[in-house]
């Protein structure tokens, strides 16, 4: 397809779609599908077909709407109303009262169950009002399987702009100017990474998309892959153009079959329209993308391990430098970025780096998607400008802790991150501030814990995870995580002495400093951060053989025997 042909197609699609004034959108995100949204979609289609609701109504499957715990969700697009927990038996009023009678159904509106006077318009509800959507902007509007939908919404405009009006240097320039940093968690400036690869001549360079979202409690990448796959694809193609790579790999977790399926569809559709493959938009730029399915190893989220896995080997990391941008897949320059990073690239190229740099904080620009879960009222996917405080995310957007319980800690960054206590709720969520607190931004999992969680038990949970997932290549991680787990286990069982606590405190920094890769270097973080903020809980376990939260099963007798 030629450049102007894509312009024409977009215009044609936009005018065609304007005819369908009343859109009833059914969420086809992973969580809503698990709650039965396919049945709701089928039933709605059937009902509309057999009734006299009239023409111009379109029942449409769309991506995730964000409030993942309330599914299946149905959105009346024109009126900006979202209905929650819809099932084939209770959906009648949506059609008769709302669609036909133009009267919303208050008791079914999203978040109505915690609210005697629910907010009818979804965009006015605090959950949505306080968000700023860039990555998630298309989610609730587009059918994830339709490339036409993506094109209608302005998709592939950035690619057109880059291929026809910009040089690769200019694309890198925009990305650098935007100030975007890697959304996988480490926060390396993306533009600088791309420049490193660009400096090498030759065509054997690679673009890799890290979709091995291993952090438990994180589902942002899954949702982006499932709900806006073309956005990621466009970001990868732009990366290929900017760095001079001709081949890309999307490494997706094996646990996400729907994401794999939708991304595969996206690749096929893009190829058919000539937006991927040989001579994209009939220019002399060619780029191809292949999917690699992960096989369940947390360490493969580490970039050098991920590359080994793409090459079909055991996913063990190696020492950096050389960085993958210089020597990556098959020893060729390789750019690895996270799913969310790629999803940010098209708007940056289209609207300019300066626009993006205006969002967020001067050092950490743009927005970040968080997967809000745990003990929180409004579970789901939220996107906020970087620098928004934890309190705003948890209490304004998330609606606070349910059941009148007290907030205890927020866990960010998964097994590599830490627990942030109440006194630091006003910390802005940015890379530096979180590091200072002993946690990390991570990929964006944000798990809220209330007073019923025992922090020692949480530390043990994460240590168990890291011990299990350690690849075994370097000693500090392989042996260190095991020892730390056993010590934590001892504390949880009430068999530990203060000597054990001391040992733990000297072991943790050692593992942190001497491990080979990010897994080992960050494995002590949950332990260190809970020790820092919840020391009294550790002491209660050790000295008084008591678990303040009542989670751990104490067995004080054995302490004497030992």
């Amino acid at each position: 397809m030629k450049n102007h042909a894509l312009y024409n197609l977009r215009e044609k699609l936009v005018s065609e779609r304007a005819l369908h004034a009343k859109k009833v959108c059914v969420c086809m995100g992973g969580s809503c599908m698990a709650s039965g949204s396919q049945k709701v979609l089928d039933k709605l289609k059937e009902e509309v077909k057999h009734s006299n609701i009239g023409s111009g109504v379109e029942i449409k499957s769309v991506g995730c709407m964000g409030a993942c715990a309330k599914g299946p969700l149905v959105k009346m697009e024109a009126d900006d109303v979202i209905y929650q927990k819809v099932n084939p038996d209770n959906l009648k009023p949506i059609l008769t009262d709302h669609l036909k009678g133009h009267k919303p159904v208050p008791h079914m509106v999203l978040f109505a169950d915690n609210d005697s006077q629910p907010t009818i318009k979804s965009s006015e509800h605090p959950f949505f009002k306080n968000q700023r959507m860039i990555v998630l902007e298309n989610f609730s509007r587009l059918d994830p399987t339709s490339i036409e939908d993506y094109i209608t919404a302005g998709g592939y405009k950035a690619l057109q702009k880059a291929l026809t009006q910009m040089t690769p240097e200019e694309v890198i320039g925009e990305v650098k100017q935007s100030g975007i940093r890697g959304r996988g968690g480490a926060g390396f400036p993306t533009g600088n990474k791309w420049e490193m690869s660009y400096k090498y001549v030759g065509e054997n360079k690679y673009i890799v998309c890290n979709g091995d979202e291993g952090d438990p409690g994180a589902f942002m990448d899954r949702s982006i892959l499932e709900c806006d796959p073309h956005r990621i694809l466009e970001g990868m193609i732009l990366g290929g153009y900017a760095t001079g790579a001709t081949k890309g790999f999307a490494y997706i977790r094996g646990e996400y079959p729907l994401a794999i399926q939708r991304f595969t569809t996206a690749i096929q559709r893009a190829k058919k329209l000539g937006l991927l493959g040989k001579n994209i938009l009939e220019t002399n730029f060619s780029f191809d993308v292949e999917i690699r399915i992960g096989a369940g190893a947390f360490v493969c989220g580490e970039e050098t391990a991920l590359l080994a896995s793409i090459e079909g080997k055991r996913g063990t990391p190696h020492v950096r430098p050389p960085y993958p941008a210089e020597k990556g897949l098959w020893d060729m320059p390789t750019i690895i970025n996270n799913v969310e990073t790629y999803a940010n690239i098209p708007p940056i190229v289209e609207k300019g780096g300066e626009w993006y740099a205006g969002i967020g904080t001067p050092k950490s620009t743009g927005t970040k998607v968080f997967a809000l879960s745990g003990c929180i009222q409004n579970t789901g996917l939220v996107e906020v400008p970087i620098g928004t405080t934890l309190r705003q995310v948890i209490f304004d957007i998330g609606g606070g802790i349910p059941g009148g319980k007290k907030f205890k800690a927020a866990q960010t960054g998964g097994p590599s991150g830490g627990c942030i206590p109440e006194q630091h709720l006003d910390t802005p969520l940015d890379y530096e501030a979180l590091n200072k607190l002993g946690s990390i931004m991570g990929s964006g999992g944000l798990i809220v814990m209330d007073e019923t969680s025992c922090m020692v038990d949480v530390a043990r949970f994460f240590m168990d995870f890291c011990m299990d997932e350690s690849c075994g290549k370097c000693v500090p991680c392989r042996v260190g995580t095991k020892h730390m787990f056993e010590l934590l286990n001892k504390i949880c069982k009430g068999n530990a002495t203060e000597m054990d606590l001391e040992l733990l405190e000297s072991l943790a920094p050692m593992v942190k400093e001497t491990s080979l890769c990010g897994l080992g270097q960050s494995a002590p973080n949950p332990l260190l951060s809970t020790l820092r903020y919840f020391r009294d809980e550790y002491l209660a376990h050790v000295r008084e053989k008591r678990c303040p939260a009542g989670v751990c099963n104490m067995n004080p007798v054995l302490a004497e025997v030992r």
């Binding site: 698990a34 715990a69 994180a218 646990e255 096989a295 079909g312 798990i447």
Partner: protein, 172 residues
Amino acid sequence: MVSATNPASAAPAIPRSDPRVRRILTVMNSHGRKSDALIQVLHAVQELFGYLPKSVIELISKEMRIPISRVYGVVTFYHFFSLKPMGEHSCVVCMGTACYVKGANLLIEQMEKGFNIKPGQVTKDNKLGLQAARCIGSCGLAPAVVFDGEVLARVKPEELVPKINEKLGVTA
């Protein structure tokens, strides 16, 4: 071990004409039999057989020209691959952080009590396999359990065993 032969547990040989084997050869060819496609080929085997039979691993090693030691190394590295059959039905309890905070460990306890199996094990009648997942990414539905691909949301500990029994077609 892959190469050790133990007549007592020897699985029946799988003929080359088995449609599943032919399918695996097709997958191999679609990747040009390049060694970097090993994990993708193993995925196909796991999906078609439910586990990785020894004879198929040997076939892959031969056809893709990868030493069997390396294939074995890869197989044992990744959680997804299993060297033994995983039971007719699978029950996966998500042990991600969000599910853990909401009591997923109690679900595992119930399963251990109700079916006398631990995660990674199969019941004696080979009906049900229990697994603990790292995170299935359905944190909004925590605690979540996946039975034969179907996600059960917000599972209460006391409801789990009856629910699974019902799905297995056993009246408790």
